[in-house]
C-alpha cells in the first residue's frame, strides 16, 4: 500500500531579510496536504540543492524578493543538475517583473509566481504538475 505525499523545499536564497512571504507559502502548501521543509534565510544555491538531495523532495520553491532572480534561478538549477536532481520541479515567486518571468519560462523554468498571486494558485499548480508527473513514472 503506497501513500505518497508531495515533499516541497521552500527556500530563501539571496540577501534580503524578509521571509514572511516564504512562510506564508509554506503554510498554505502544508494546509493543502504537502510536507514542507522550511530552511530559513540566506541559503546559497549549493545549500538549497544539498537539502533537496537529503530530503528527497519533489519540488523546490524559491522565494526571491531581492531582485536577483535572473541570477539565482539558473544557479539553483545548475546545482540541482550537478546532483542528478533534474527531475525536481523548480518553481518560485517573489517580486519578479512580467518580462523576467517570461524570459525565465522561455529558458525552461516551470511556472513562476509574481506579486499578488493567490497563494492557493501555487498549491494548485504544484498538485496538478505532480499528478501529471507521477502518472508518467509509476
Amino acid at each position: 500500500m503506497t501513500d505518497r505525499k508531495i515533499r516541497v523545499l521552500v527556500a530563501k536564497p539571496g540577501l534580503d531579510g524578509h521571509d514572511r512571504g516564504a512562510k506564508t507559502v509554506a503554510s498554505v502548501l502544508r494546509d493543502s496536504g504537502m510536507e514542507v521543509i522550511y530552511t530559513g534565510l540566506h541559503q546559497t544555491p549549493e545549500m538549497i540543492a544539498e537539502v533537496a538531495v537529503q530530503e528527497d523532495v519533489d519540488v523546490v520553491g524559491l522565494s526571491i524578493l531581492s531582485g536577483a532572480h535572473m541570477e539565482l534561478f539558473p544557479r539553483v538549477r545548475e546545482e540541482l543538475k550537478k546532483r542528478g536532481l533534474d527531475h525536481v520541479l523548480l518553481t518560485g515567486g517573489g517580486i519578479i517583473p512580467g518580462e523576467d518571468m517570461e524570459k525565465l519560462e522561455s529558458q525552461g523554468f516551470a511556472k513562476l509566481f509574481g506579486p499578488g498571486t493567490r497563494t492557493d494558485a501555487i498549491a494548485e499548480y504544484i498538485k496538478t504538475e505532480m499528478k501529471r508527473r507521477w502518472a508518467h513514472t509509476s
Binding site: 503506497t2 505525499k5 494546509d31 496536504g33 545549500m47 537539502v51 538531495v53 537529503q54 546532483r83
Partner: protein, 322 residues
C-alpha cells in the same frame, strides 16, 4: 518488486541521494524498501542510536545541532532524523527543525532528514526504525532521532533508540509534570537545557529526586541529570559523556538481547501491517464484515466469525500444500 538496482548501487557507494530515496520508500510503504534493506542488512548494527525527546520548545533541535557538531570533532559521522507532527486536518506538515542545524548542511559526514509523523497507529514507529536501519546500513557512526515528546506514539519512536535523552527546560513545567507525562520512564539520560536561565537548579534537584525515588535500589542504571545550554554550547561534552556511559552500561548488560527485542517489535509491526493489508484489501473482509453487521451482529461476534474463517482458510491451505 525489485529495488531499483541503480539506487542500491548508489546506496553502497555512499550517495546520500540513495539513502534519502530509501527513507522515502519506507515512509510511503513502497515494497522496494524491503528489497534494498535486505541487501544491505549485514551492515545494520554498527551505529549507536540516540533518541531525543521532550516538549516543544525545550531546545531539542538546537541541542541536536550541538551534539552533531561535537561528534564531528571526534570524526564520527552522524545521521539525523527530525520528526515533526503532521496536521491531522490536511495531512500536510511544516518541517522546520533543519533551521537550527543549518551549519551542518554542507558537512559531508552529516545527513539530515526531516520526517512528518503522518497518521500514527504504529506507522511512525515502523518508519522511524526503517529510517534508522537505512542510515545505519549506509554507514553513519551515530544516529540521532529528534521527536516531539507528546503522546504514546512518540515514546514508541524514541524507544527504538539505544539511548533515550529526554530534554526539559526551566519554565516549561516542573519535574512533577514531566513525571506525570511519563517522560521520566523513557529517559536513559535527562538533559536540563537552558540551564543558564533561572529555575534550572530547582528543576535539576526535582528531577534528581524523582529519579532517586523511582530507581534507587531497583535498577543497575541511575538516569543521570545533565545541565546544558544548547544556545551557548555549554554542557554538551557532559551530555555526550553521559550517553557514552549509558552505551558502556548496555554493552555490559546484554545489548544484543535488548536490540533483538527491539527488532522483534519491528517484526511485529510489519507483520501486523501485512496481515491487516491482506485481510482488508485482498481478503475481502470489509464486505464480509459489512454483511454481518447488517444482519445485526455485534462487532465482537463479527470478529469471532471472521477470525475462525481466517483460521479455516489457513488450515485448508496447509493441508492443500501437503
Amino acid at each position: 518488486m525489485n529495488a531499483s538496482p541503480d539506487i542500491t548501487e548508489r546506496f553502497k557507494r555512499g550517495d546520500k541521494g540513495a539513502v534519502a530515496r530509501a527513507i522515502s520508500w519506507a515512509e510511503n510503504g513502497d515494497p522496494r524498501f524491503a528489497t534494498l534493506i535486505a541487501d544491505v542488512y549485514s551492515k545494520v548494527g554498527h551505529a549507536w542510536r540516540i533518541g531525543i525527546t521532550g516538549p516543544p520548545g525545550a531546545g531539542k533541535s538546537t541541542l541536536v545541532n550541538e551534539i552533531a557538531k561535537a561528534l564531528r570533532t571526534r570524526e564520527r559521522t552522524v545521521g539525523i532524523l527530525a520528526v515533526d507532527p503532521s496536521s491531522p486536518l490536511s495531512g500536510g506538515a511544516l518541517l522546520g527543525d533543519r533551521i537550527r542545524m543549518e551549519e551542518r548542511t554542507l558537512d559531508k559526514g552529516i545527513y539530515i532528514r526531516s520526517m512528518a509523523s503522518r497518521g500514527s497507529h504504529g506507522g511512525l514507529s515502523r518508519t522511524t526504525v526503517d529510517a534508522c536501519d537505512a542510515m545505519d546500513a549506509f554507514g553513519f557512526d551515530e544516529i540521532v532521532v529528534e521527536t516531539v515528546g507528546v503522546g504514546q506514539a512518540e515514546y514508541d519512536v524514541v524507544s527504538a533508540a539505544d539511548t533515550v535523552v529526554v530534554v526539559l527546560c526551566p519554565g516549561a513545567g516542573d519535574g512533577v509534570q514531566a513525571m506525570k507525562a511519563g517522560l521520566l520512564e523513557v529517559a536513559d539520560v535527562l538533559a536540563v537545557n537552558k540551564a543558564e536561565l533561572p529555575g534550572a537548579d530547582r528543576l535539576i534537584m526535582d528531577l534528581e529526586e524523582a529519579v532517586h525515588i523511582r530507581l534507587a535500589g531497583k535498577s543497575t542504571w541511575m538516569t543521570p541529570v545533565v545541565a546544558c545550554s544548547a544556545a551557548r554550547g555549554d554542557g554538551i561534552e557532559d551530555l555526550i559523556a553521559a550517553v557514552e556511559r549509558h552505551r558502556e552500561h548496555l554493552k555490559a548488560h546484554d545489548l544484543d538481547g535488548i536490540r533483538r527485542e527491539k527488532r522483534l517489535a519491528q517484526v511485529h509491526r510489519v507483520l501486523d501491517e501485512r496481515i491487516a493489508e491482506h485481510l482488508w484489501s485482498g481478503g475481502g473482509f470489509g464486505e464480509r464484515a459489512r454483511a454481518l453487521l447488517d444482519s445485526g451482529r455485534s462487532p465482537y461476534d463479527v470478529v469471532a466469525e471472521l477470525f475462525s474463517a481466517l483460521l479455516a482458510e489457513h488450515r485448508h491451505q496447509k493441508n492443500g500444500a501437503k
